[in-house]
């Protein structure tokens, strides 16, 4: 087990280097960041030259990357053109996004698995069909539509929950964006759970559990659900990363100053350091989440052993 984890951690190094380099190249391909900084006006050549020198923009791209990575390992993510350090941006944005992700993930797990279980146990009946239709609708509608509609109905028209999130991030204000962010993944989790539950209800060990005279709730939770969750956990693990990075649209709609929002600003202003810094952290989260899923696999299914 220890050796397996070590091997997986070592494997992360080339993946980490590859992804960050790709991001680095792609952000530079967007165009000249100094020109973008000045917008339509032509920059003063002296100022432009100074900025170029300060941000190593005259070096070849690979050297820029090497210099950037060198600083990165000293926890120096560089500064934006406006002089703000990326580290402070990270410190401001990540806690907000983490809270939002936690809310969304909880909703996704509880309602996704709950609805999936309900519908898998009652396959072909009304409850099952309603869940199938509902999840299909949720999957088909883009997030920004559900986002704006819910914001208008729940937040503005009925006034049940706050419509936007201010600087003071409360749990209540994150509830609505959490639902919006979770909705699509929730639908996938529900469908995935439904399929595996429906499949496993016919399994021999479930029949054995019934023959042992166990109460129904014990048969369902201890025997049926435990086995059905293995593929669901895989999905949830990869989705955790996607929720953190993919909250861009939701954070825009609800004015949440989190990762997605800051990243968006960084792309618009072609702030290389912001974009690369944020994505680097996202890459690390993705890799760790995947490792966690693989380790969780072995906990859930004793037939899988890592050596």
């Amino acid at each position: 087990m220890g050796r397996y984890v070590l091997r997986r951690l070592l494997q992360m190094i080339p993946v980490f280097i590859g992804t960050t380099f790709l991001i680095f190249v792609m952000v530079h391909a967007l165009g000249d960041p100094v020109n973008a900084l000045f917008g339509d006006r032509a920059p003063d050549p002296a100022v432009a030259a100074q900025i170029r020198a300060q941000y190593n923009l005259n070096d070849p791209l690979w050297l820029q990357y090497v210099k950037y990575m060198g600083k990165l390992f000293q926890w120096d993510f560089g500064t934006t053109f406006s002089g703000q350090t990326v580290t402070s941006q990270l410190a401001a944005a990540y806690p907000v996004t983490l809270k939002l992700t936690a809310v969304a993930f909880t909703i996704e797990v509880v309602f996704g698995i709950g609805l999936g279980l309900l519908s898998g146990l009652r396959r072909g009946r009304i409850a099952d069909n309603s869940v199938l239709i509902l999840t299909l609708v949720v999957i088909s509608i883009p997030t920004f539509v559900t986002g704006y509609v819910l914001q208008y109905l729940v937040g503005v028209k009925w006034g049940i929950l706050p419509a936007t999130v201010g600087f003071d991030v409360t749990f209540q204000s994150l509830l609505l964006p959490g639902i919006v962010l979770a909705s699509v993944s929730l639908a996938y989790v529900a469908r995935l759970t439904r399929t595996t539950v429906a499949e496993n209800t016919k399994a021999d060990y479930v029949r054995t559990a019934v023959a042992k005279g166990l109460p129904r709730h014990r048969v369902v939770i201890n025997h049926l659900l435990r086995n059905s969750l293995i593929p669901v956990v895989t999905f949830l693990g990869t989705d955790l990363g996607a929720l953190m990075g993919g909250a861009l649209v939701t954070e825009r709609i609800f004015n949440i100053h989190g990762v997605g929002y800051t990243l968006y600003q960084g792309i618009v202003r072609q702030s290389t350091n912001t974009v690369v810094g944020f994505v680097t952290i996202l890459v690390i989260i993705f890799l760790l989440a995947n490792l966690l899923v693989d380790l969780l696999y072995a906990v859930l299914d004793p037939r899988i052993r890592y050596a």
């Binding site: 060990y205 054995t208 042992k212 005279g213 109460p215 435990r226």
Partner: protein, 351 residues
């Protein structure tokens, strides 16, 4: 052989004092309502088992032997399966009239079932210790430690070596024979009055089959349990069963004490089954097989269900369903426990 004679001893002693059987299935009907129509899987089955007695139920796949057992246990997949008639009287109570919760309490504690494929029938993600201990935790409310101690005790009983060290192992870490022992241990856990073993040795190789069968017979004798042994393996039956019921298309077509059935079958189907056993002294000859296929349960042939495959079929077989005739010897005295659902049982017997 030795195990059957030892287990028969206490039965003889108590046979007079026990007037009502442990389990009596009366005119049981089960059907499966599928998209293609109604499949009549069990059509009026009667049988009974006394404490300490072994009843073997013999038949091809799809003859309704497993479905009958599932109906007795109350684990029929419903829908599509429905019990549409009959009674299942267990220790004086008709199980079919019991509520769901009462029925559940009977399962596992008073009657238990051993399944064919132990690998798929045991939960892959729970240790065998926790699966065995679950019986005590649920039915007796035992604590975790007590349940584990009992699980180790059970594993010792079914002679799993190093039970204490292996109690935390998972089903896939055991061999086929050991897994089936765990199934047996699980069934025995609460010392039930009746055990239903649904082809307990089919998935095992021959040497292990004998060990598992012996163990089952020995434990049955020890606890004085009734045992219903469902099988299509005539060799397994001969050693351990007291009486045999042969099923075909959801009906019992012949019942007999075990040795009489082997010596003189009274139904052409039983005869066919016995003739299908490959024999060493007839090496080189073509193997015998009953011609044709088991009937489609959606369209059971009129008359005797076996008539399209029967070498002895006459006009009457195609029109009239034969009742279970009492089988008598030449002098006309009835043979105890013998019956045959064949219009020509006498001729078959004389063959």
């Amino acid at each position: 052989m030795s195990s059957s004679s030892t287990s028969a001893q206490p039965r003889e002693a108590t046979a007079d004092t026990v007037e009502s059987p442990l389990l009596e299935v009366r005119d049981l009907h089960v059907e499966f309502r599928t998209r293609d129509g109604v499949a009549k899987a069990v059509n009026g089955v009667n049988y009974s088992v006394r404490a300490g007695e072994t009843l073997a139920i013999l038949g091809e796949s799809g003859s309704g032997k497993s479905v009958t057992a599932q109906a007795v246990m109350g684990i029929l997949d419903s829908p599509p399966g429905f019990v549409t008639g009959g009674q299942i009287v267990f220790k004086g109570r008709d199980l079919l009239t019991l509520g769901k919760e009462d029925r559940r309490k009977v399962r596992g504690s008073q009657m238990a079932m051993i399944f064919q494929d132990a690998l798929s029938s045991l939960n892959p993600v729970h240790s065998v210790g926790s699966q065995l201990g679950e019986m005590y935790r649920v039915h007796k409310g035992s604590s975790r430690q007590d349940a584990k101690a009992k699980a180790i005790e059970l594993m010792d009983r079914v002679r799993i070596p190093a039970a204490k060290a292996r109690v935390g192992d998972y089903p896939h870490q055991f061999s086929g024979g050991m897994r089936q022992r765990i199934m047996i241990a699980m069934a025995l856990a609460l010392e039930p009055d009746l055990i239903i073993a649904d082809e307990p040795t089919t998935a095992l190789d021959v040497t292990v089959q004998a060990q598992v069968m012996d163990l089952l017979a020995e434990l049955q004798g020890e606890y004085h349990m009734g045992l219903i042994l469902i099988t299509h393996d005539l060799g397994v039956v001969a050693d351990v069963a007291d009486k045999i019921a042969v099923m075909y298309a959801g009906r019992i077509v012949e019942t007999a004490p075990v040795h009489e059935l082997y010596a003189k079958p009274a139904h052409p189907y039983t005869r066919g089954l016995l003739d299908s056993i490959p024999r060493l002294d007839q090496k080189g000859q073509e193997l015998y097989a009953i011609k044709g296929l088991p009937p489609n349960l959606l369209r059971i042939p009129p008359g005797c269900a076996f008539n399209p495959r029967c070498p002895r079929a006459q006009e009457i077989c195609r029109t009239t369903v034969p009742p279970l005739f009492e089988v008598t010897d030449e002098a006309g005295t009835p043979r105890p426990g013998r019956a045959s659902a064949c219009h020509f049982w006498k001729e078959t017997l004389d063959d």
